[in-house]
Amino acid sequence: MSNKKPKPRKPGRKVTKPKVTARPSRQTTKQKGVAAIVEDSRKPSMSGAAVRPRLIKRKIVVMPDDPSPSKAMKNTMDPVPKSARRRSKAPGRPGDQVPSVDPGPQEEGRGYFRIRMRMAEGELTVSGAKFVAGPLRGDESVSPGLTYDAKIGRKRVAFGDVPDPIEWRSHPDPNAKGETAGHHVTELSDYDFIVRIPSEQVTEQAIQDLRVTLYRWRGQGPGEHISITELIRQPKVAVEELGSMSGLRISSAPVAFKKELQQAFKQAASSAHD
């Protein structure tokens, strides 16, 4: 690259800078003869003069008319092989792309507890627990039907919809036209649903204060979902409490469940240290 000095050039014509007036709030070009907006009165206006070179590291650096090939040796691409310009042979079907060895920034959330709740004859109990690694996207709103609300103390740790837990339906008989062309419905008195709580929201000690409430409610139209706080504020005629569980008495829980819960917390702790 040459750093030849250009001939000194005359500075550009000095122009009278337009005065900055109050900042207009609207386009006014539907009126004729509107003045140009001055963005920065310290800057010049364009003129017909040649451009004044600026100094780069105290030098005037201009592009040569006929630049010579680069002589760089390090960190350069390999020379173009002669075969590059020939039609390359199509390879076989490619396999999977290769994941990065460095997984990059960890996704938000190290894991969550998947707690299986059992509703049996109006009573809500915990029937299983599992730790699942990875982020958890909690629900943002709730929709008509069944909704659970999970708190530890006063803090809400999870909520969400429970679609379709109450019925068992036989599929329609494809060859029938009478009643068996529909479902045979069996109402369930016992059913399960899942509560998912981010692992950072709960400790082995605090889970003993877990309170879960299951509501049934009638909402508005399709897509008109509401927040859980709005749901709780609904009048009782609109929201029916189907059952609740206040506290998780681990000491009196079945041994298998105790083991499962301990295992889940162990995995959560291990995940936190990874």
């Binding site: 100094l55 630049p67 173009v80 290769v98 958890l136 529909g182 045979h184 399709p222």
Partner: protein
């Protein structure tokens, strides 16, 4: 053969998606292909290849668990139904034949017994299998190795046979994911309170009806009334006056008596939705509920959209990229409709990632656009793929380059420009890298329709041009010979700015003209922005030059290409007729319809309200018109992005796709800026009403 799991739909981490676990019972080792085929038929090619679930596949993961049963086929039970197949209370067991299967289900073929039942240890076996093989699950599908029909669903589970259809499964998923009610009818009156499900109601008041926003004012309410509930036990269709000729039985919304398994006293939205008849698509009410529920899990937004005419009908379509999925919506000239949905990968294979960059062009000259996709950030090396028509309106990978191609080593900051540099009707690629090597490089990658070949590489210099990292490029055919070349600008790396017009001979570039510091009537500055378009309609690309940063006022220049010279046609100092220029004006080249390239201009920073304008060229100057704050129903905002296109298929790019996180609009430029369409959160054309 041990038990195993295969994730057949990979949308994301299980805690962020709805997870479907599929288990098989009664499939011995030799039956596993049969099981896999059935899973594909029911889910991949069935539920998730149609209407709602196709569009929102990105909200779901599917885990196929292959459980090896010792016996082939499931246990059987025979009932004596006493001639009353709908009443199970008088049934007696005739025989039970037990087989040694993974889950112990027993098939009976009796409707009243839900076609099948659990064995003594089935619940534990199912739970053990799920805990072992699936990290998390919301829905469980069990497929029995039984050829006869039937199935049993509820409680977020479905147990089906090989005789089951995907349409019934999709209906059941309406219960399990949307909390939707049945819409079919049997004899009897509903006497309960207002149901919680969004798709059935007892309310006949138009003003308070929960799906009122989808009902045309001229549609009578109720629309269908059961004339004799004591005698008629089926769903009521249109009964009130004459049915409009264009009434669609699954998509036109009214209020029809019958639903929730009863023939009277309760109403449904349409004559026949999937929640009634299984086979029709979901009605607008059910569709909207499913979309609203699952939208957060899809992760869909309108932020990354790309224009292309993917079916070659002359109307520009849109490709939307979200994380590991793409959706293509096809234009019919007045609206967009879903044409293709792919999650995680397309056949070939290309696995989509958030860092994918898309370049659309007709790389094989067939009149349909293909897609070059490049990823330099999400894998352990760079990948470049060529995606082409799969023959079914979608895309498949036809060529992939891993890390390099002969003569070009891909790097993180490679920049690609679509251009037909050899004028053969097939788009090619220019590639520039000024950041990752000791010297900058430009490559010319020629397309033969199925692959790319490097025909020329410039290492550090091009004829008459010393490359620098700050070089920026535009593409145009400045000589009008059908070969697209590069316009290269550097305002930062030298003491004066430079603009070079390159000339392509199809396999290399030469310098047609270099402008050092000045153009005729224009002092170049670092903040100059070039917009290439044929604004005088002579078949040669011209150049609009804008600078809003470096002077006290903003300038716009129009430079006519004269082969190897740029002639100043017009310079606007501060104002264009009809538009006060400001420093943060943003421009896109379009065409309002006269064959001369115009400029769309948008400014959301320098005024109180936002302005969208169009500067229409008369060949040597422009005049502008604009809309303030709103274009029809579109409220212009700071996060709006614009893509110029020919959505209407009129032969000129007079339309703009305008989009942000949740909104997508289509604007027409002439005769005035007007809004043609607006979509919120998802693209769907309701026959009446909309989802907000």
């Amino acid at each position: 053969m041990p038990d195993s799991v295969t994730q057949i739909l990979k949308s994301g981490p299980p805690g962020t998606k709805k997870n479907i676990a599929v288990l098989g019972d009664g499939f011995a080792a030799g039956d596993q292909d049969d099981y896999n085929d059935k899973v594909r038929e029911l889910l991949t090619d069935g539920v998730f290849a149609n209407d709602y679930f196709y569009e929102d596949a990105q909200a779901f993961n599917i885990y196929r668990v292959n459980l090896i049963s010792n016996d082939s086929g499931v246990s059987q039970r025979v009932y004596d139904e006493q001639g009353t197949p709908t009443d199970r209370t008088d049934d007696t067991i005739v025989s039970t034949t037990i087989k040694d299967t993974a889950l112990g289900y027993i098939y009976s073929g009796s409707w009243a017994h839900c076609w099948l039942e659990s064995g003594a240890n089935t619940a534990n076996l199912v739970n053990d299998a799920l805990d072992t093989w699936v990290p998390d699950y919301d829905l469980v599908v069990v497929i029995l190795n039984e050829d006869r029909g039937g199935g049993c669903g509820g409680g977020n589970s479905q147990i089906v046979t090989k005789g089951s259809s995907w349409a019934v499964m999709a209906h059941e998923f309406g219960h399990g994911t949307g909390g939707l009610s049945d819409e079919y009818c049997k004899k009897g009156a509903y006497t309960g309170a207002e149901p919680g499900a969004v798709n059935v109601t007892t309310n006949t008041n138009r003003n308070t009806l929960k799906w009122r926003k989808f009902i045309k004012p001229t549609t009578p309410i109720p629309t269908g009334v059961n004339p004799d509930p004591t005698a008629i036990g089926s769903c009521t269709a249109w009964t009130v006056g004459a049915k409009p000729a264009d009434w669609d039985s699954s998509q036109s919304v009214g209020l029809f008596e019958g639903g929730r398994t009863k023939a009277s006293g309760v109403y449904r939205p349409v004559i026949n939705c999937r929640m009634r008849g299984n086979a029709p698509p979901y009605c607008p009410v059910c569709y909207t509920e499913l979309k609203t529920k699952m939208h957060p899990a899809t992760g869909h937004s309108f932020l990354k959209t790309y224009v292309g005419d993917f079916n070659g009908d002359g109307k520009d379509d849109v490709l939307i990229h979200n994380g590991n999925s793409i959706l293509i919506y096809r234009s019919d000239g007045s609206q967009l409709d879903i044409a293709f949905s792919a999650v995680e990968r397309v056949p070939g294979s290309w696995q989509f990632k958030p860092g994918d960059r898309f370049y659309v062009g007709d790389f094989n000259g067939d009149g349909k656009d293909e897609v070059v996709v490049y990823n330099s950030t999400n894998w352990n090396q760079e990948y470049l793929g060529l995606l082409a028509d799969d023959g079914n309106g979608g895309l498949k990978l036809i060529r992939r380059y891993d890390d390099s191609m002969p003569g070009w080593q891909f790097q993180k900051d490679d920049k690609f420009y679509v251009a037909d540099f050899d004028g053969n009707g097939r788009d090619d690629l220019y590639v520039f890298n000024g950041a990752n090597w000791s010297i900058p490089y430009v490559g010319m990658l020629r397309s033969n329709g199925t692959s790319f070949t490097l025909v020329k590489r410039y290492d550090g210099t091009m004829p008459g041009w010393q490359m620098r990292p700050g070089d920026s490029h535009s593409v145009g055919d400045f000589s009008g010979d059908g070969k697209e070349e590069l316009l290269v600008f550097n305002g930062d790396d030298w003491s004066i700015p430079y603009l070079g017009m390159m000339r392509s001979n199809g396999s290399s570039l030469s310098m047609a003209r270099r402008f050092d510091g000045t153009l005729p009537g224009w002092q170049m500055r670092p903040g100059d922005r070039q917009y290439v378009g044929d604004f005088n309609g002579d078949g040669k690309s011209d150049v609009y030059l804008f600078n809003g940063d470096d002077w006290s006022i903003a300038y716009l220049g129009m430079f006519i290409s004269m082969d190897s010279w740029l002639h100043l046609a017009q310079r606007y100092d501060g104002n264009v007729p009809g538009w006060q220029m400001r420093k943060n004006d943003n421009h896109w080249v379009g065409d309002s319809g006269d064959g001369r390239s115009d400029l769309f201009v948008y400014n959301h920073q320098d005024w109180g309200p936002e302005y969208l304008g169009v500067m229409v060229s008369n060949g040597h100057g422009v005049t502008a018109s604009w809309k303030e704050d709103w274009v029809g129903e579109w409220n212009l905002g700071t996060n709006d992005q614009f893509e110029v296109c020919d959505f209407e298929g009129v032969g000129v790019r007079r339309n703009l796709f305008v989009h942000n996180q949740n909104w997508f609009g289509i604007i027409r430029a002439t005769p005035n800026l007007s809004l043609l369409k607006i979509y919120y959160k998802w693209i769907h054309n309701y026959r009446y009403g909309r989802n907000w």
